[in-house]
Structures are given as structure tokens and as C-alpha cells.
Symmetry: C2
Subunit: 487 residues, 2 copies
């Protein structure tokens, strides 16, 4: 007789059972399956899957920054430093990194918070960005921003007077937040961004959400994603000041996900740190956590897993507990830290690598601007679609109509209408995007998130595919063309 399972879906951690992460969810699973089918020669109405589900620039063909990769190669294998293929400033940078590694090996553990030299470079970068003081002691490196955000959210897990802790997150949001809150058992408190006003963050809506949630939980932290993911808006300075005042008034810890701050298309980016600093007391004395990553920005080194948390004005005993929890995980990858150093301290005019670096970075920025304009224009030209301006990030989050018959067809399959739509889009065109329901959206509205950094011809092909698909879809599920027989 087969051994009965010890760990079952019924006796496992039920929080994990409820977790969802749409970015790598059912639509991607199906896309991977279709890719296998294509390899096996199964006929499809398209030649290949176009993955547009994840913000991964290198996977879309963006070339790595040469300087970063040369530094990584030299740090991994110092015997190559003798090679004339590595410029002088690369060699110097490698030496600086190895000097900060125990016994000059990237294979030795670093301190849990990261190499001191990287934390110092980050502090200099942040100070220059904000015109405000920054300390290396406040900087914690991690295996990507995800790792750091989850660790910070963990700090808020404490029932106060029998009420669970709650964390406010925007809707739409990046589903790391909903997923991590679900895993940790923190209450998710939604505030809606205003799509009609370019995904604006309305303080009246913050107030509404806080008030509604207060019956069931104690709201302790406020997450702001700026530039927005999946929404791509960049907050104005005035808006940020309102948010800071709100957080202060209600004693909320501000957690700023600012990972797309270097992916700016229109509008200037301001960090919350800078805004709070310039607002003066009492706002400049507030606690703040802000994350950055080398997975985004011009480096876009997702696979290296390196992120940074600046944690300011937090109570020293709280910091000690945070540090212990981090120490348990040993340290972030040292080669990832080396890449982060390159981002925080890129080549400067006069350095041997500068011209090439500057040209590569310029090209990456140009491509982002071009693609954002293309995507925005194309989506708004599809009948039934609308798409807000993309100020920053690397996504579009267009809205579209789904006929009632299609909604009923989705419900019959027990999936969300926009998931139904995205799965149909995938089956018919090979385009793989993420349903808006995975990020959250106003009830009755439908969106998807798509990356926009594909090569020009591929982006155009995607847009044409969506346009044709949508026309067919509307035709197929039009309420007037057929009598509904279902449900």
C-alpha cells in the first residue's frame, strides 16, 4: 500500500495555499507549455510565444552594460586581470572589490548587510541624488529588492490589542506585496489609484481605505510604488508631500518601492527621502524604508539578484532585530553586490570605459522612450482600449472592454474575465501578458500588464496581434451576434 502523504494540501500552511503571483502564474505556465508544443511541431496560429509577462530587459534582447560584466569577470577570476581585454578602470574596480572581500575571494561570505565598500558607494550615490545626508550604516544589501521588501514587511507582524497588523498597498500593485502579505499573515489594505487621473494617488482615497480597514486591523505601514508598477505613473512632488503628511498624521511607516527610479520617460522622479528631507520637521524625522535594485534601471541585471534597502531613522533596537534576521540568511551574493557597486559608481568622464558605457546607457534610455511612445500610441489606437501615459517603469497597463458574454464564459471556467482574455490572446497570437486581476483593479474594469522593451519589430508585431485579436474577440463574444446558451 502506498504510504499516505504526511504533508498535504489540507494540513500545509494555508497562507501559502492562498498565495498568488500572477507574473509567473497560470498564463505563463500555459505559455511555457505552448513553447514545448511548438518545439515538438504542434501546429499553432503563430511561430513563437512572445513573453511580455515580466520586467526582464535582458530577456527582451537588451545588451548588458559591458563595464559591469567585465568587472564581474575580473572579480570572479582575477587571473584574467592580466588580459588586455579588460580596461584599466575595470581592473581598478575589481581590485577595490577584492580588497573588501575576505581573503580577496568573492566566494567568501560578506557581512550580512553587504560589503562595506558597496554600502559606502550607495550612500554617496543616494546623497548625490537627494542633496541630503545618507549613511552607509543605513544601507542593507539583499538578494534583490524582493528579498528586502519581504524582510521589512516581516517586521510589522504583531497583533496589537488583538487586532492584526495591516499594510496599505496601491491597487493596482506589484503582486510581490499581496503575495508577501498573504504569506506573512499581514492584512492587505487596498487603496485605489485613480485611472481617470493618470493613476494619481489620491489622499482622500488613502483616508477612505484607512478608515474602512480600521475596524478589522491596525494599519501600520503604507507602501507606495513610484514609478508605478504595473501602472507606470510618476508621482508629482506635491502629491508625495500629501502622502508624507498623511503617513505622519496616521503614524504609518512609509515603505517606498522606488525600483524603477532610473526608468524615467517623462516627469522628474523625486525620492521620498528627498521630499521628506526638504519638508523639514516633523516630516524629516519620520522613519522610511526605500528599495532599489540592479534588476531595473539601465543595468537591468535581474539574474544577478542584488538590491538595496535604505532604512532611515529606525529605532536602534528594531534595527538590531532586523540585522539578526538578516544574518540568519548569511549574506547576499557577492557578485551581485559587485554589480550594484558598478551601478552606484559607474565610469566617469576620463575613465577608460566611460565612452562605451555612456553610449550603452544612452541607447538603453532612448529605446525605453521610443518603446513607451509606441506602446502608448498603439494601445490608444485600438478601438475599445485606453492606456494612460507611461511616465516611467517598463510596462504598459492598458484597459480594455470585455463583453458580458465573454465575462460569463470566464465565470463558467471559474477564472477572472481578464485571465480568460489573456489566455485567449495567448492561444491565438502567442502573446503572453499578465491579467490585471493579478495586480488588482477597480471591479468591472479589465487590464493587462505588458512589458514594452521588445525589439521594435516585435513590439509592433505584438501590438498588431492584440489589435486583431481584440477585434475578433469582440466579434466572437458580442452580445448581439449570438444568443447566449451558457451558464
Amino acid at each position: 500500500m502506498k504510504q499516505e502523504q504526511v504533508l498535504t494540501v489540507d494540513n500545509m500552511n494555508q497562507r501559502l495555499r492562498r498565495m498568488r503571483y500572477a507574473v509567473r502564474g497560470p498564463v505563463l505556465e500555459r505559455a511555457l507549455h505552448i513553447e514545448h508544443e511548438l518545439e515538438k511541431g504542434v501546429p499553432k496560429p503563430f511561430a513563437s510565444v512572445v513573453r511580455a509577462n515580466i520586467g526582464d530587459c535582458h530577456a527582451l534582447g537588451q545588451k548588458p552594460i559591458t563595464f559591469i560584466r567585465q568587472v564581474l569577470a575580473g572579480a570572479a577570476c582575477p587571473q584574467l586581470l592580466a588580459s588586455p581585454a579588460l580596461p584599466q578602470d575595470v581592473r581598478q574596480r575589481v581590485e577595490a572589490i577584492l580588497d573588501d572581500c575576505t581573503c580577496r575571494s568573492v566566494g567568501a561570505y560578506s557581512p550580512s548587510a553587504g560589503l562595506w565598500s558597496v554600502r559606502c558607494a550607495a550612500a554617496e550615490w543616494l546623497a548625490a541624488r537627494d542633496g541630503a545626508p545618507a549613511s552607509a550604516h543605513d544601507i542593507y544589501l539583499g538578494s534583490g529588492a524582493t528579498d528586502l521588501i519581504k524582510a521589512l514587511l516581516t517586521m510589522f507582524l504583531e497583533d496589537v490589542n488583538g487586532k492584526p497588523s495591516g499594510v496599505m498597498i496601491p491597487i493596482p500593485q506589484y503582486p510581490l506585496f499581496s503575495g508577501a502579505l498573504a504569506e506573512l499573515g499581514l492584512k492587505q489594505v487596498d487603496y485605489y489609484l485613480d485611472e481617470e487621473r493618470g493613476w494619481a494617488l489620491d489622499v482622500a482615497e488613502l483616508r477612505r481605505a484607512l478608515c474602512d480597514a480600521s475596524a478589522t486591523c491596525r494599519v501600520r505601514a503604507l507602501v507606495v510604488i513610484n514609478p508605478g508598477n504595473p501602472t507606470g505613473q510618476v508621482l508629482t512632488r506635491e502629491n508625495m508631500e500629501e502622502v508624507v503628511r498623511f503617513a505622519h498624521e496616521h503614524r504609518l511607516f512609509l515603505l517606498a518601492d522606488e525600483v524603477y527610479q532610473e526608468n524615467i520617460i517623462a516627469k522628474p522622479f523625486h525620492s521620498f527621502k528627498k521630499v521628506m528631507y526638504e519638508m523639514g520637521a516633523p516630516y524629516c524625522d519620520m522613519e522610511l524604508g526605500s528599495v532599489l535594485t540592479c534588476s531595473k534601471g539601465w543595468a537591468a541585471e535581474c539574474g544577478l539578484r542584488a538590491g538595496l534597502l535604505e532604512l532611515v531613522r529606525v529605532q536602534p533596537d528594531v534595527v538590531t532585530a532586523y540585522r539578526t534576521a538578516r544574518a540568519l540568511m548569511q549574506c547576499p551574493t557577492v557578485l551581485g553586490q559587485a554589480a550594484l557597486l558598478c551601478v552606484m559608481k559607474p565610469p566617469e568622464p576620463g575613465d577608460a570605459s566611460y565612452e562605451q558605457f555612456a553610449a550603452e546607457r544612452r541607447d538603453i534610455r532612448r529605446v525605453l522612450r521610443e518603446r513607451a511612445a509606441t506602446a502608448h500610441r498603439a494601445f490608444n489606437s485600438i478601438p475599445g482600449y485606453s492606456c494612460n501615459a507611461i511616465d516611467g517603469s517598463m510596462f504598459a497597463f492598458p484597459r480594455f472592454e470585455i463583453p458580458e458574454r465573454a465575462q460569463r464564459a470566464a465565470h463558467a471556467l471559474s477564472i477572472a474575465p481578464d485571465e480568460f482574455y489573456c489566455l485567449r490572446l495567448l492561444e491565438e497570437t502567442g502573446v503572453c501578458v499578465v491579467p490585471g486581476s493579478g495586480f488588482g483593479q477597480r471591479p468591472g474594469t479589465y487590464h493587462f500588464r505588458t512589458t514594452i522593451l521588445h525589439p521594435r519589430h516585435q513590439l509592433q508585431h505584438m501590438m498588431d496581434s492584440v489589435r486583431r485579436f481584440h477585434a475578433n474577440f469582440l466579434h466572437q463574444y458580442s452580445d448581439t451576434t449570438h444568443t447566449d446558451t451558457g451558464c
Copy 2:
């Protein structure tokens, strides 16, 4: 007026407040402080701190395996593949890795479970190790074994019939386990290893621990660390069979921390997978999680952060939930995965890199055997010290006596007697080891864990320092030399 803190040590997650991780705990903190003092010229009775707190071979001077580092360099910077410095088999390996990376960049995200090619190589390696089938589908890569163990423990967090879940761990244990259980809110159920019998794992003691714990929790999983950390014993096959039968009888999920399986000095290592397979039904149908890492073994690439979990015969819906939780974290570092591939599929006779690789690996194994013998002999030659044989791992965990007066002095400072001892050892000799209380030990016994892979002269210096220190310490705190005035 200064802003009142929002997040305080009283309203933060109290589980984190209770967490301890002695490996990077107070003794190391003090050691780092002393290092700064030495740099500033503060006089000390020693010239430098000898860090022996963490199992980090590269930090102790072990040279990285050239093949691994050349592969990393080529994968990071493929333009270097043209260099004659990189042998043919390195180039081939790099091509294989890049072929499995989206758009041939290690900067693209990999699948959450890891690159397929690495998972396949791991399955082949495991199958060859055990003479038992292994599937790439059962293999999950992570940012070090730590990451994977914590993720797996998270699965057991569910109160059943109002009783919290408990997990059995050995005492002494590696404090990742106690720390992760504390963070997650799982009940730690201690079973003691038998120091008098070479840290044997006694099934009667497992039974005692399970029985005692049953009143307050539902024990769901059994952790075995083999080779032992900090204890360095290697379980016999017979002993492992008893453990498997116990787990089966009590329906416990077996979690095998086997990260030191390649750090073998005496006695053969058997994996739990192999033992269960060979025991046949019903044992070969039991669930099992086993971890490996490239931080240990001959690679010892701690800083790269790459580990592997083999998760067998787990219910598919449970696996789905596990995969979703992992997907949220995106993926482990791709360069770390590349290093793991080199470990799972090292150069073979006839490959261009083979001779150098084999010589490097041989040297690493020789050093481990030599140092283990030196440490074992030296500790047992110190009056008041005893140390079991070191079968595997890279640690010694000697036991020593602490006079009652010293115990009282420690209590007066509210620290454990062995922490007091280790802090004194650090202050007087510069030797930084981890108190046994950080791993757990039988009440009234005292130990510390020390790494043993230091260069020969440094290990000898450490041993001499401990010998002199212990004699002085006994003299200073001898119950007969002074009348106790304290408390």
C-alpha cells in the same frame, strides 16, 4: 519635538526580537570591534583577530577551484571566451549555460526553480551518488541551502486542532534551524545527540522528545543534520535506518540537511534518499527534503549563494504552493547556478581542465583531513578539554569545564557561561569562536564551535592560544584560589 517612532521594539514582530544567530552573534560583533581597535592602534595582547566563527573556507585562505571561476568569468562576460586564458572545456561549459539563459544573458531571470540544465545535471549527480532514480522536476535551486530550508519549514506552519506545529531538531544544531523556527512561529522540539557516544543519534531520545512535545504541539517534521553541524559526526547506515523507521512510524516529514556530505574525513556518507530507497516499501515511498549547497564541499563558494533542494514524493498540490511561494522571490542568482552546475558536473578525465581541477580538489581534501586530525589531537591534549572524532564537516565542537566561580561571573553579567568564556578567549587571545549555547547543549556542559580549516601555522597558533588561555582561566576562576565575594 522629535517624532515618536512608529515602529518600536515593543510593537514590532516579537518573534524577530527573540531570534538569535550566534554564528554572527555577540562574539563576532565584539571581534569586529576589536579589529577596528587594532586598526586604530589600540594595544592588545595579540596582533590580529583569528576568525573561527563561520564555515567559510575561502575566508580561511582556501583557493577557489579555477574551473568554476573561469566558467563564471566566461558566463558573465562572453567576449572573454576568445581569450586563450580560458580552456576549451570552460568555453563549452559557458556555451551550455548561456544556451539555457534567456537571450544568452546571466542577467535575465531564470525559472524560479532554476535553470533546467542545472537541475538536470543535479539529477544525474544525485542518481549517480545514490544508485537511485532522481528527477530534475524534483530539484529546486535557491540562494544557498539556508533559503531553501527556510522555505521548506514555512510549509509546516499550520495549527492542527488548535495545536501549533512542531519540528524536531538535534541539539546541538546549526542555529539556522532554531532561528527560522522562531521567526516562523513553529515550535522547536529538541532531541539531544549523545556526546558520550560520538554524538550518536539515539532513537530512544527521539521518542522521548516526541513524547514530551506532544502535549504542547503537533510534531510534523524531523530535521537531521548529517554530517553534523556543529558536531561533525557522520551517521552510520544502521542508525539512519532507525531514524527512517521512526519518522515513518510517527508520520514525520524528514528534512535532511546534508550540506557537508562532500566534507568527509572518516566514515562513508550515505544520503537519506539512498537509505530510504534501499530499505524498500514502505520507506521508499516516504516524503523527503534534502539540501545541498555549493557553499560547502570542495567548491566552498559561500559568497555565490547557491543551494539545491531535492523534494521527493511530495503531494503535487503542495508542490504547486511551494512553487508559487518561490516564484514570488523570482529566481536564485544565475551565476550561483552556474557554479552549482560546475559542482554537479565537474571536469572529467580527458577534459582540458581536469588535471588542474583534480589536483586542486585533492589538495582541499588533504587539508581537511590534516586539519581535522590536528584539531582533534590538540583539543584532547588540553587538560579539561575533550573532543569527539571529527568524521565530517569543517568544525570541531570541543567540550570544556567552566569553574563554578566563572559560571557565577557569567550569570552576574546575564550571559551564558560559555559565552563569557568565549568572550574572555577573544579578549585575551584574539581567537573568535562561537559558544556552544548558540547551538544548544546538555545543561551543565560547555562547548564552542570552531572552524578548523585555517592555514596550518594559524591553526597551531589557535590551539596554543586556547591551551594557554584555558590554563589561565582555570587558575583565575579556580574555586580554591580565591574566596568568592560576588553575586
